[in-house]
C-alpha cells in the first residue's frame, strides 16, 4: 500500500534514509520476532518428531475436554476455542490501538490498549485454569498391574493406550514426553503473553503520561503491537499442534 507513494527509481541504499523505509526499532523488532519464531518452531518441531516416533500419543479430544463450571461434561475443543477467540479479539483491539495512534488520537489509543490488556489477562486466566485442571486431574492408570490415580505433569502421563484389566478398559502410562512438551511450549507461550501484557501496561502508562504526543508519533505502540500479534501468531500454531491434530 505505502509502496505506491514511493517513486519507483528511489535509490534506497544511497544513505540518508532507511533502506527499508522503516525505523531502526521497527526493523529490529521484526528480526527479534523472526528469531523468536525459530525458537518456537524448534520446540514445536521437536514435539512433532517425538510424537511421530511413538506408536501411541495422547488424544487431544480426550485430554482437553473440560470447561470451567461444567463438571465432568465431555466438551472437546470448547475451552481452547474460547482461548483462541479471546486472543484473536485482543489482536483486533491491538491493531485498532495502532490505528488510533496513526491518527494521534490519545483517548482512542488508551481505550484500545485497556481492552487489549484485559484480553491478555483473560487468556492468562484461562491458561491458569487449564494447567490447574490438568495437574490436579485424577485419572485411573494401570501401573505394574495396580490401578493408580494420576494427573498430567511433566513426569506423569496418564493418557497412554488402553488395555483390558479385570473386565474394564483402563489407560496405561503414555510417553513421558507429553507433559514436558505441553507444559513447556504452552508455558513458553504463556510467558510471552505475560510479558506482552507487561509491555502493553507500560505503553498504556506512557500514553496516559503523554509521552507519545510529545514525541510526535505513536511508533512505540506499533512496536508493542508487533510483539502482541506475534503472540497471537504463535498461538495459532500451538492450537494446531496440541489441540486440533
Amino acid at each position: 500500500m505505502s509502496t505506491t507513494a514511493i517513486p519507483t527509481n528511489t535509490k534506497w541504499w544511497n544513505g540518508g534514509r532507511s533502506p527499508f523505509n522503516a525505523s531502526y526499532g521497527k526493523v529490529m523488532m521484526w528480526y527479534f520476532l523472526m528469531s523468536d519464531a525459530f525458537t518456537f518452531g524448534a520446540f514445536l518441531i521437536s514435539y512433532g518428531t517425538i510424537r511421530f516416533s511413538v506408536n501411541h500419543w495422547a488424544d487431544p479430544n480426550q485430554v482437553f475436554n473440560a470447561f470451567p463450571f461444567a463438571g465432568h461434561a465431555n466438551l472437546p475443543l470448547a475451552f481452547v476455542s474460547l482461548m483462541t477467540f479471546i486472543l484473536i479479539f485482543s489482536s483486533v483491539t491491538m491493531v485498532l490501538a495502532v490505528h488510533e495512534g496513526h491518527k494521534m488520537n490519545r483517548k482512542g489509543v488508551e481505550k484500545y490498549m485497556v481492552l487489549t490488556i484485559l484480553g491478555g489477562l483473560a487468556f492468562l486466566g484461562c491458561q491458569a485454569w487449564e494447567w490447574t485442571h490438568m495437574i490436579t486431574g485424577d485419572h485411573a492408570v494401570l501401573v505394574n498391574g495396580q490401578i493408580e490415580h494420576w494427573g498430567t505433569t511433566v513426569t506423569k502421563n496418564p493418557w497412554g493406550a488402553h488395555v483390558m484389566h479385570e473386565g474394564q478398559l483402563v489407560s496405561t502410562p503414555g510417553p513421558i514426553a507429553f507433559g514436558g512438551y505441553f507444559f513447556g511450549i504452552t508455558g513458553f507461550h504463556g510467558f510471552h503473553v505475560f510479558s506482552g501484557v507487561i509491555i502493553n501496561v507500560v505503553m498504556l502508562i506512557k500514553t496516559r503520561l503523554g509521552h507519545f504526543d510529545q514525541r510526535g508519533h505513536y511508533e512505540m505502540i506499533e512496536k508493542a503491537g508487533l510483539y502482541w500479534h506475534f503472540v497471537d501468531l504463535v498461538w495459532v500454531f500451538v492450537f494446531l499442534c496440541f489441540y486440533l491434530v
Binding site: S18, G41, S46, G48, H162, H229, L233
Partner: protein
C-alpha cells in the same frame, strides 16, 4: 524524557490509517477460518476409530493449510508486513522458508525411529504396537454406547 525528539530515521509518515474496514474484515476472515478448523476438528473427533489413515491425514493437512492461511492474514494485515517494501519482506520471509525443510526432515526422522523400534531394527516385521493402536479406539466407541 530523553526520547521526546523524533527519530531521524523515521523518514516516512505511516499512511495506512485510512479506515478500520480492513481490520474488521480480517477479524471476520480469521474467525471464519477458526470455525472451519474447529468443524474439521469435530469431524475428526466423531469419526475417531472409524476412518482409515488416509482421510484422517488429509483432514489434518487441510487444518494445517488453514492455519498457514490464518498466519498469513495476521502477519500481512495485523502486523502490516504486507505494507512494508519488498526488500524488507524478503529478509524476513526467506529465512523462514528453512522451516519447510526442518519440518520434512525431522518428522521423517521421527517416523524412521518408530519403524526401527517396531521392527527391532528391521529384524522382524512390524507387529504388536500397530495392532494395539487401533484396539482402544474401537473399544472406546463401544464403551460410550
Amino acid at each position: 524524557m530523553s526520547s521526546n525528539v523524533s527519530s531521524p530515521e523515521i523518514t516516512h509518515a505511516p499512511e495506512h490509517a485510512s479506515g478500520t474496514g480492513r481490520i474488521w474484515k480480517t477479524f471476520w476472515v480469521l474467525s471464519l477460518l477458526t470455525v472451519i478448523e474447529l468443524a474439521l476438528g469435530y469431524l475428526l473427533y466423531f469419526k475417531h476409530g472409524q476412518w482409515s489413515y488416509a482421510p484422517v491425514i488429509t483432514t489434518k493437512l487441510v487444518i494445517a493449510i488453514l492455519t498457514l492461511l490464518k498466519a498469513y492474514y495476521i502477519v500481512s494485515i495485523f502486523m502490516h508486513l504486507g505494507d512494508e517494501i519488498r526488500n524488507m519482506i524478503m529478509t524476513i520471509v526467506v529465512p523462514l522458508l528453512l522451516f519447510v525443510w526442518f519440518i520434512v526432515a525431522f518428522l521423517w526422522d521421527g517416523n524412521a525411529w518408530r519403524n526401527l523400534r517396531n521392527t527391532n531394527g528391521h529384524s522382524r516385521p512390524a507387529q504388536v504396537e500397530q495392532v494395539q493402536q487401533h484396539q482402544p479406539a474401537a473399544a472406546d466407541k463401544d464403551h460410550k454406547k
